[in-house]
């Protein structure tokens, strides 16, 4: 059995963190009766959304009837699987809970009519239903979302992850450096499943693991790589060296692009150089757009050349200084905002309907005033 299975929580005691979500869930399920709004769990991968349902079910001897993205989920299969098991009682369990996982993975063509059918089932169900999604603001989930109570799951802290890894190693009787667990936890940034998988790759069959064993994950290689690349680009004056700097890097060019962008003004000090480097990035960006728009991959070389060679040759002289290169703030911000963005979009749409104009107009013509008129409502901004 893989560790991720072996160490799945069997009870709420073993379950890691997510205190608010757990409290909400418990309050809901303990008072559940037919007609009550179902829950929609959402949050990033590997933070225990599915695990919570199974842990509770296990603890309370409930059967979990699950449908996930690996199942066809058009209206007839849904009716068949959920509808039929809604009628019968279970032989060995005390009750049932329906789990519709990866609901944002509905494929419009193959899962036709899924949402409508689910909404119907929600109304008639004699058992509680939990939906799970990474992205609850996916437009196809709008109707479902409006009929559910949302429960947010947060990224786990490094500390949480580390502690759970330690428990597993203890159970397996494997010794480990503290650094190893810290590194694995860091690398997975709040994703416990990823961390347990990594741990299994590193530790399975061993008595003891050290930092060196992490090589198998390619961990250090990956992190050093981007810094080396940046160093070459910012320090060299040779086009070939700059071009080759991204050859073997474990990030796709779009990501590298933002790493470079972030550090241009970090390395270069003269405005002439900064402006020139941005010229190159601006052109690289145009090539990137053309690649995406026309699926014209021939243009890839120009995109990568402009962002490497172009930026490298923007400087007059090499800076003989140590620069601490920073990760791209753009990507970080975008990551942080991913979910709230969709939510805002929906609210904008509602406003647009009321004000009888487009969302764009709401934003430019109404919002600035609304913020003045309803100050309290917009305090968080």
């Amino acid at each position: 059995m893989t560790w991720i299975r072996k160490y799945a929580p069997k009870s709420l005691k073993e379950y890691v963190n997510q205190k608010e979500a757990v409290a909400k869930f418990l309050a809901w399920i303990k008072n559940w009766k037919p007609g009550k709004k179902p829950l929609l769990f959402y949050g990033p991968p590997g933070v225990g959304k599915t695990a919570l349902v199974y842990a509770y079910a296990h603890e309370n001897n409930l059967a979990v009837i699950e449908l996930n993205a690996s199942d066809t989920r058009n209206y007839s299969t849904i009716r068949k699987v959920i509808g039929s098991s809604m009628k019968g009682a279970t032989l060995f369990k005390k009750g049932k809970i329906f789990l519709i996982d990866e609901i944002d993975g509905l494929a419009p063509r193959y899962d036709a009519g899924a949402v409508n059918e689910l909404l119907k089932i929600v109304k008639e169900s004699r058992y509680p239903i939990v939906f799970i999604a990474n992205d609850p603001y996916s437009p196809k989930l709008r109707h479902l979302r409006e009929n559910c109570e949302l429960v947010a799951f947060k990224k786990l802290s490094v500390y949480d992850v580390e502690r759970r890894l330690k428990q597993i190693l203890d159970a397996e009787g494997i010794k480990a450096d503290k650094q190893v667990l810290r590194a694995i936890a860091n690398r997975n940034a709040g994703d416990l499943r990823g961390a347990i998988n990594d741990l299994e790759v590193v530790a399975r069959g061993k008595k003891e693991i050290t930092v060196k064993d992490l090589d198998v994950l390619g961990y250090r290689e990956r992190e050093e790589n981007i810094f080396n690349t940046l160093k070459i680009i910012f320090k060299t004056k040779s086009p070939i060296a700059a071009k080759l700097s991204i050859m073997n890097i474990d990030k796709d060019p779009d990501e590298v692009f933002w790493w470079i962008e972030e550090n241009v003004s970090n390395e270069y000090e003269k405005l002439e150089e900064i402006a020139k480097a941005y010229d190159a990035l601006s052109i690289a960006d145009i090539f990137r757009r053309r690649i995406m728009k026309r699926q014209n991959w021939r243009l890839m070389v120009y995109y990568t050349d402009m962002m490497t060679i172009g930026v490298a040759l923007a400087k007059k002289e090499m800076y003989r200084k140590f620069t601490r290169y920073k990760p791209p703030s753009v990507l970080r911000t975008l990551g942080m905002l991913k979910y709230t963005r969709e939510k805002e979009k929906q609210e904008l749409k509602d406003l647009a309907e009321y004000l009888r104009c487009s969302t764009k107009k709401v934003k430019t013509e109404f919002l600035p005033f609304l913020k003045l008129i309803y100050k309290d409502r917009f305090k968080d901004k």
Partner: protein, 324 residues
């Protein structure tokens, strides 16, 4: 953003006329419309004109006058700039047109706002849709620029041109709100409103409401104050930073606007353009700046990533400011 629309009362909506006799100005348009209404027979119509001159209002009034209280079930109102994709539009229209009109008017009404946001291709498809459902529907297309509507559509519509409202009528509208809300307003307060709104009644209503949130006694100072508060000052600040050579801070502001507040690149560059006209720098530098803005606007319209393109623009601004 934080709240649901129900919790807001927006005066621009509250004071939107619902009867044809309440419509302000646009006499030449209204008269023609009245004639159509008397016949209970409409052609397809195209309303063109600047924002806030009553186009959408008139369309809704027509709907009410035609169908009376059940107007909602006989009218489909779409906004082309949100409902991208003609397929979506077509689908909705089809569903809508399938059922018979309720009441004695033999057709249903489809109001398509911001029709000039559609591509020429989508408009071609729209034209066909208009033909297919001609027997049982009428369209009112609303746009700012009629020249962005393809000819085959224009020639199928009675075209109505809305003009910016003369001051007289704007004042009438101001008074209507002032009375309705129990406000006081000074002469120069009215003047300030007219000055800023430039004939756009929606803006008038918004300005008044924002001012009234501060005080019930409205004068010019408050109006200008509100207007400047509502105006995104961030662009101005950002430009100032760039012109002072503080590129990093300027870049930060840009990130905030685009990423956190989610402004569109095209709107920001438009703001940059407006602000740079006001900068206190020699004329020839200004021309240089404008030229640059033109170049980057072009790149963004080519599909360039607004963030990277505008950052590059800021870097160049900083450079130009430095060069003496």
């Amino acid at each position: 953003m934080a709240a649901k629309p129900k919790e807001f009362v927006v005066w621009a909506e509250k004071y939107r006329p619902t009867k044809i006799k309440d419509i302000i100005d646009q006499e030449h348009v209204v008269n023609r419309v009245k004639a159509f209404l008397k016949d209970r027979n409409l052609p397809h119509m195209l309303f063109a004109g600047p924002p806030g001159t009553g186009k959408t209002t008139l369309a809704l009034v027509i709907a009410r006058e035609l169908y009376g209280p059940q107007w909602r079930s006989n009218v489909l109102s779409l906004n082309a700039s949100d409902e991208r994709g003609i397929d979506v539009i077509r689908g909705k229209i089809k569903d809508f047109a399938r059922t018979k009109p309720i009441g004695d008017v033999p057709f249903k009404l489809i109001i398509l706002d911001e029709a000039d946001a559609m591509t020429a291709e989508a408009q071609q498809a729209l034209r066909r849709t208009m033909e297919d459902f001609a027997a049982i529907t009428r369209f009112i297309l609303i746009c700012n620029y009629s020249s962005k509507i393809i000819e085959p559509i224009q020639s199928r519509c009675a075209v109505f041109r809305f003009k910016a409202l003369p001051e007289k009528f704007q004042k009438e509208f101001i008074n209507r709100i002032v009375k309705g809300e129990g406000l006081e307003i000074t002469e120069d307060g009215i003047k300030a409103l007219l000055d800023i709104a430039e004939g756009d009644l929606r803006k008038v209503a918004n300005l008044l409401q924002a001012a009234a949130a501060m005080t019930k006694k409205i004068d010019a100072n408050i109006v200008y104050d509100v207007a400047s508060q509502a105006k995104p000052k961030e662009v101005e600040e950002m430009l100032n930073l760039a012109m002072k050579g503080n590129f990093l801070k300027a870049r930060e502001k840009l990130h905030k606007m685009l990423l956190i507040e989610g402004l569109a690149g095209q709107d920001v560059i438009k703001q940059i353009y407006k602000q740079s006209l006001k900068l206190d720098i020699p004329e020839d530098k200004k021309v240089e700046l404008i030229h640059l803005i033109g170049e980057y606007d072009f790149r963004i319209s080519e599909g360039g990533d607004a963030l990277i393109q505008l950052t590059s623009l800021l870097a160049h601004f900083a450079l130009i400011a430095k060069k003496k």
